[in-house]
């Protein structure tokens, strides 16, 4: 019993997906739910667990991992440590090492079972998880009165654990995890208010009403079950339905139709497992089972009855033991194990024979393998075992028992029953068993009540053996209390006790003292009770001791008693016998027998009271003698008759008893037949189900067949595709297995290898081939080893080239099964490749030529920037390659055709693809070049490439212009000169007078012009050196004497437009001097001098012609053409002639404008 101060314990089991569910669970719990929580979760034994830390973020309660041994405290959370199991005892929780190997561990079951063993009011919660751990545990919790909550499998991440827990029928609540937490909080709150859930004795009446309600609803009476069990179950249901008081629960029970069924199911809860209490079953196997086989023939049968078998584990366990024993023996009698129970749901489970996988902790692997087969998460009982066990719905208290069984195994039923029912059940077992049969009970049960029926074989393991009745015949079947009887009888019982006991006792005592001796006899004529004084009338006969009344009373009374009892029981009549003479110690006395049926509650004939009424003593003398004498012959006859009658009666009685026994047996046989019938019916149902299953299987098979057919069609199509592929493939393919034997090859392979179709299966290394490739086998092995693709280009002996590709052969299920070798003829490709390489080299060469060409060549994309820019371009335009690439060349160079835009060029390129002509290009340093451009556009891979090559023709243009200019100039000059000559001729003619003189003058002037021209031409028409001009003009007049002419002046270059007139002026001066002046005499001299000067800020040349030593000068009366030439011949010059008698002085002042370049105007 737990202390009141100890908190309720909530065990939580979870596995896969559990952490999330636990987080949600604790989040939804209130801060102080008033319980201690123990979390058991499957953890990896090798890893540290962070669960405690994780959970502590979700709840205010302290969370700790159980490392050793801890006292459970309220509002604490305890978490299992990795690689340990938890056990609970006296509110101490302790971590234990596992006994089982890792795979078989079931820590949740372990903990729940230990919780159930210690606390009847625990809570078990199953959350998400795979497997079936916890399923056994929750049943154990439920059996002791705990409450089971399970997460809704639809919500759980892994539904298997919740489903298995629900399948045990133990779950009180199935809810999503948050509702689960709320429900738990609610339950705990109620628990807190009502600290002691046990129902006080004062509520007895209410309990009775509840039980009678259950009886009405369900038809089973539990009034004689142990009170503690009953109240515990009711208290549990109260908790589940959250009713605080019994009356409240009673109302709830009446209002909720399902509650009666739920309570009924709770009453029936029992935990059964395979081999529960292993040692007991070991004892059974060694002590009992072999004996059952003793003396059995193959034709005979071994019958075992397992009442209250629940979900059948116990029945199957015994079946296993029997089958194992049978296997050890040669003979194999028929084995029948009858399992019976009230609970039809449980029986359905038993018949199904399908159990959660965690039964493997109860059953050895060997037995599991032999008697079970795995079905997903479950184990199903194999046919062999299933066939020997039959299940029937049966109440051991209400229905006739199975008969002639060799053993009854009834474990953990008696403990729920009160003493009277135990008595009844034991008697029933005694009846059911064959003589010497065995009874196998649960750990805390015994078969000692009533005494004498069983003898202990092994008290420790509760094995008993039936003690046969002393009589030869079988004991009659004990009376089966009808439910109505017992109820009413019980109801009446407390009444009888409720009077003032002292008065009753006194009255009874007095009555007993006064009343005649009496005896209470039951229906079977057994004496049940004797009054204190009845001993005088008893005289048991010899032989076995019996309580049959007629055998116990004095012989004199027997006949009349017999008759009276019959009348009493059969007709309910009260009889008073004639006086009977009984000799008490030799003294005869008259005795009257009064037999009165005891009428109880209108049920006649169950009991009869026999009163021995003493009459007067028989006088020994008169009466006796008289009687003796008178009645001697009659007495003799009567006695004779009486004896005969007695004999007949006892025969009759024996016959009746036999008939009753036979009747009972028939009833039992009937019961058995019914159960067999039921078994057959269920078998029939199973067969029906099997048939349906077979039909659906058949349909499935048909579907599969169709699918297979379709698959076959597609496979054969794939095959023919493959055949065609092989035929069409222009390369050889060789399939080898992992030992390099030929599996398959395409026709092209035969060109290389000397193989034929019959060579499949032979190693490829056996064949010669045309390839220069000896490493084929090595490479194939390498591919098998590395599972990578290998490629080689191999030359064949006839000069061709092949690409050999070896790759692993993968089957559709991704298994490596050899290699695939392909031979692709790449001779052509090699040739093309070589040609390509050559042309590439050539191209590279040419590219370099272009690159280093001094001619500007560049390439640009029509829709994009420049892609090539050679050295010539760099040199011409000043832009480096890097500066240009990617940019728009036309924009960069400001390409413009004369009198147009570059767009016209682009248009022409787009239309005709070529363009050539003059373009203006601007260089990087801003010079505008005229180039002759050749442009061609080609398309390469969708790109429009423009190849442009230019030639700088700027200088050429310049020279051209210059030539044009010179031609113009020439024309101008020639025209001019001719005009001058024409004018000269006319003017000379005008003044000459005679032809000879004209010729002379004209020639002289023409020669002067020609000389000046010669000088100008010699000086590139840039001008004439004054000294040189003077010399050529005057040379003819100097004669042999150089002193006649002196030239003084710095070097002056006369511009061309002055040089010719100046030459003419000098000529005229010299001609005049030769005619009239200094040159006309031998001693005459001329000084020609000049200086540069300035007038009005402009440069001038001052020239002076001075004659000496000539004849005396006279001023000419008429000025001739020569004079006009001298004075006006130089444009813009100021000329002055002074006719000094000593000699002519002529001064000429010429403006020397800065000479400009030729050609700056047209």
């Amino acid at each position: 019993m737990e202390l009141v101060t100890d908190p309720p314990i909530v065990g939580i089991g979870a596995s896969a997906g559990g952490v999330k569910a636990l987080q949600a669970f604790f989040e939804a719990l209130p801060d102080e739910p008033n319980a201690a929580f123990v979390v058991v979760i499957h953890l990896n034994p090798e890893k540290r667990s962070e669960l405690a830390a994780i959970l502590s973020t979700r709840t205010r309660m302290p969370v700790s991992q159980v490392a050793d041994k801890v006292h459970l405290r309220n509002n604490h959370v305890y978490v299992i440590a990795p690689d340990s199991a938890l056990n609970i005892a006296d509110h101490m929780i302790s971590a234990l090492p596992f006994d089982e190997p890792r795979a078989k561990r079931a820590p949740i079951d372990l903990f729940f079972r230990s919780l159930a063993a210690q606390h009847s009011d625990g809570f078990a919660i199953i959350l998400t998880g795979a497997g079936a751990d916890g399923a056994l545990g929750v049943r154990a919790i439920k059996e002791v009165g705990g409450i089971v909550l399970v997460q809704d499998p639809d919500e759980a991440e892994f539904a298997s654990m919740p489903r298995n827990a629900i399948a045990t029928d133990a779950a009180d609540f199935v809810l999503p995890v948050r509702d689960l937490a709320r429900q738990l909080a609610e339950l705990l709150k109620h628990k807190g208010q009502d600290a002691d859930p046990l129902i006080p004795d004062s509520e007895d009446e209410m309990v009775r009403r509840i039980l009678s309600h259950v009886r009405v609803r369900v038809g089973h009476d539990f009034s004689q079950y142990k009170r503690a069990t009953i109240t515990r179950r009711i208290a549990r249901r109260m908790q589940v339905s959250q009713q605080d008081t019994l009356p409240a629960y009673h109302v709830y029970l009446r209002e909720h139709a399902n509650e009666a069924q739920a309570l009924f199911a709770d009453f029936l809860i029992s935990v059964t497992t395979f081999f529960r209490d292993k040692w007991a079953f070991e004892q059974l196997a060694t002590l009992v089972i072999p004996q059952l086989f003793e003396g059995k023939e193959a034709a005979s049968s071994i019958r075992i009855w397992v009442p209250a078998c629940a979900t059948g584990e116990e029945a199957y366990t015994i079946g296993i033991l029997l089958l194992e024993e049978a296997a050890r023996r040669d003979v194999r009698p028929e084995i029948q194990v009858f399992g019976s129970d009230l609970d039809t749901d449980a029986l359905a489970v038993a018949r199904e024979g399908c159990y959660a996988a965690d039964i493997d902790s109860d059953i050895s692997a060997e037995r599991l393998a032999r008697f079970f087969q795995r079905e997903g998460d479950n184990y199903r009982v194999r046919r062999e075992l299933r066939d020997v066990v039959m299940f029937a719905s049966h109440s051991i208290l209400r229905d006739p028992p199975f008969a002639r069984v060799d053993m009854v195994s009834c474990r953990n039923l008696l403990i729920y029953l009160d003493r009277d029912l135990q008595h009844q059940v034991c008697t029933t077992f005694h009846y059911a068993l064959n003589p010497g049969g065995f009874l196998f009970l649960g750990a805390s049960e015994s078969a000692d009540n009533p005494p004498g029926l069983f003898r202990a074989v092994d008290r420790e393991s509760r094995i008993y053996r039936m003690v046969p009745n002393t009589g030869e015949r079988r004991t009659a079947l004990p009376i089966l209390p009808g439910t109505h009887h017992s109820a009413t009888a019980r109801a009446a019982a407390p009444h009888r006790l409720s009077g003032p006991s002292s008065d009753v006792a006194l009255h009874r005592q007095m009555l007993e003292r006064v009343a005649p001796p009496s005896m209470l006899v039951d229906e079977t004529h057994r004496a049940i009770h004797l009054s204190e004084t009845a001993g005088r009338f008893l005289q048991p006969s010899g032989g076995p001791v019996t309580t049959v009344a007629t055998d116990m009373v004095r012989p004199e009374l027997r006949f009349d008693l017999e008759a009276a009892l019959h009348r009493a029981f059969d007709r309910g009549e009260t009889t008073l016998s004639r006086p009977l003479v009984v000799r008490f110690d030799g003294a005869p006395q008259r005795i009257y027998l009064q037999v009165k049926p005891v009428l109880e509650e209108g049920d006649p004939g169950r009991y009869a009271l026999v009163l021995f009424i003493e009459g007067e003593a028989v006088r020994a003398d008169g009466d006796d003698a008289e009687a003796a004498d008178n009645r001697e012959p009659a007495n003799e006859t009567i006695r004779h008759l009486q004896e005969e009658l007695q004999l007949a009666q006892s025969r009759l009685r024996a016959t009746r008893e036999e008939s009753e026994a036979a009747n009972e047996e028939l009833r039992a046989a009937n019961e058995e037949l019914q159960s067999i019938n039921e078994e057959y019916r269920s078998t029939s149902e199973e067969l029906e189900t099997s048939k349906e299953e077979l039909q659906s299987t058949n349909e499935e098979l048909q579907t599969v067949n169709n699918e297979l057919k379709q698959k076959l069609t597609s496979v054969s199509r794939a095959h023919s595709d493959l055949q065609n592929l092989v035929a069409a493939a222009d390369f050889g393919t060789l399939f080898l297995d992992s030992t390099l034997r030929i599996k398959r090859f395409t026709p092209r392979v035969t060109e290389l290898f000397n193989i034929t179709a019959t060579d499949a299966g032979r190693p490829i290394t056996d064949f010669t081939h045309q390839l220069d490739y000896d490493q084929l086998a090595d490479h194939a092995h390498a591919v098998l080893r590395e599972l990578t693709l290998l490629e080689h280009e191999v030359q064949s002996r006839d000069g061709g080239w092949y690409l050999v590709r070896i790759r692993p052969y993968r089957t559709v299920d991704d298994r490596i099964d050899g290699v695939v070798v392909t031979f692709v003829d790449i001779t052509e490709r090699r040739r093309v490749e070589e040609a390509l390489r050559d042309s590439e080299a050539r191209l590279k060469q040419e590219m370099r030529l272009v690159e280093f060409s001094r001619a500007p060549i560049f390439v640009w994309e029509y829709d994009d920037g420049a892609v090539q820019w050679n050295r010539g371009s760099e040199e011409l335009y000043g832009y480096s390659r890097a500066e240009v690439l990617g940019r728009d060349v036309a924009a960069l160079l400001r390409s413009t055709p004369p009198g147009g835009t570059f767009d016209a060029v682009r248009q022409a390129l787009a239309d005709q693809g070529v363009w050539s002509g003059e373009l203006q290009h601007t260089t990087k340093d801003g010079r505008v070049l005229t180039v002759e451009s050749q442009i061609e556009m080609i398309s390469v891979a969708g790109r429009r490439l423009v190849l442009e090559s230019t030639r700088d023709i700027t200088d050429q243009k310049k020279w051209e212009q210059r030539r044009q200019l010179l031609l113009g100039e020439l024309r101008h000059r020639v025209g001019n000169t001719l005009a001058v000559v024409q004018s000269l001729a006319r003017q000379t003619l005008r003044t000459s007078g005679s032809n000879d003189r004209f010729v002379d003058l004209f020639e002289g002037r023409l020669t002067a012009m020609a000389r000046a021209h010669t000088l100008l031409v010699d000086g590139h028409w840039e001008g004439a050196e004054l000294t040189a001009l003077a010399r050529v003009q005057l040379a003819a007049y100097m004669g042999a004497d150089p002193q006649r002419l002196r030239l003084e002046g710095e070097a002056v270059l006369l511009p061309p437009h002055l040089a010719t007139p100046f030459g003419l002026v000098l000529h005229e001066l010299a001609t005049n001097a030769a005619k009239y002046g200094a040159f006309s005499t031998a001693g005459g001299r001329v000084l020609l001098s000049w200086t540069r000067g300035e007038r009005d800020g402009r440069p001038i040349l001052a020239v002076s012609w001075r004659e000496f030593g000539g004849p005396v000068v006279v001023v000419p009366e008429r000025q001739g053409f020569g004079g006009v030439l001298i004075e006006r011949g130089l444009p813009g010059a100021v000329v002055a002639r002074r006719f000094d008698p000593a000699g002519l002085v002529c001064t000429i002042e010429i403006g020397l404008e800065e000479e400009e370049h030729d050609g700056d105007d047209t």
Partner: protein, 137 residues
């Protein structure tokens, strides 16, 4: 420079009698010849060898016509021609070369005599220039 004939030598029957002709030529020989020619035909002569001289000469009040060498020194006679055009005085070009396209466009209808030219052509051309005027007079 204006040179006029002596009144006694003036003959009103000469073709250019009473006219004043501007001769602008930087070649003195040519200029002299032209002057002589026109003078012989009865005209008064104004002559110029440079552009500044030509511009002044072109403004001579009773100028009748002009003959211009296209190039005067290193310049063209364009400025002189402009004055003449402005004054409405007829003139012709006398050049060793063709007129530049620009000048052709600028002075449409102005006769151009290409050097050398026969002596009579001067007179013919000049007369054709002044005849409409003479007829009006």
């Amino acid at each position: 420079m204006v040179t006029t004939r002596d009144p006694e030598t003036r003959d009103p029957d000469l073709p250019l009698a009473g006219m004043c002709i501007l001769v602008a030529d930087d070649e003195v020989v040519i200029a002299l010849n032209l002057e002589e020619t026109f003078r012989d035909a009865g005209a008064d002569i104004v002559s110029a060898a440079t552009v500044p001289q030509g511009i002044i000469a072109a403004r001579t009040p009773n100028l009748t016509a002009a003959i211009l060498d296209v190039s005067l020194g290193r310049e063209t006679s364009e400025a002189v021609a402009d004055v003449l055009v402005e004054r409405g005085i007829p003139f012709c070009f006398y050049s060793g070369q063709m007129l530049s396209p620009r000048m052709q466009a600028k002075y449409p209808g102005v006769p151009v005599l290409t050097k050398p030219v026969r002596q009579e052509a001067f007179l013919t051309t000049l007369l054709s220039l002044v005849r409409p005027r003479k007829a009006l007079a």
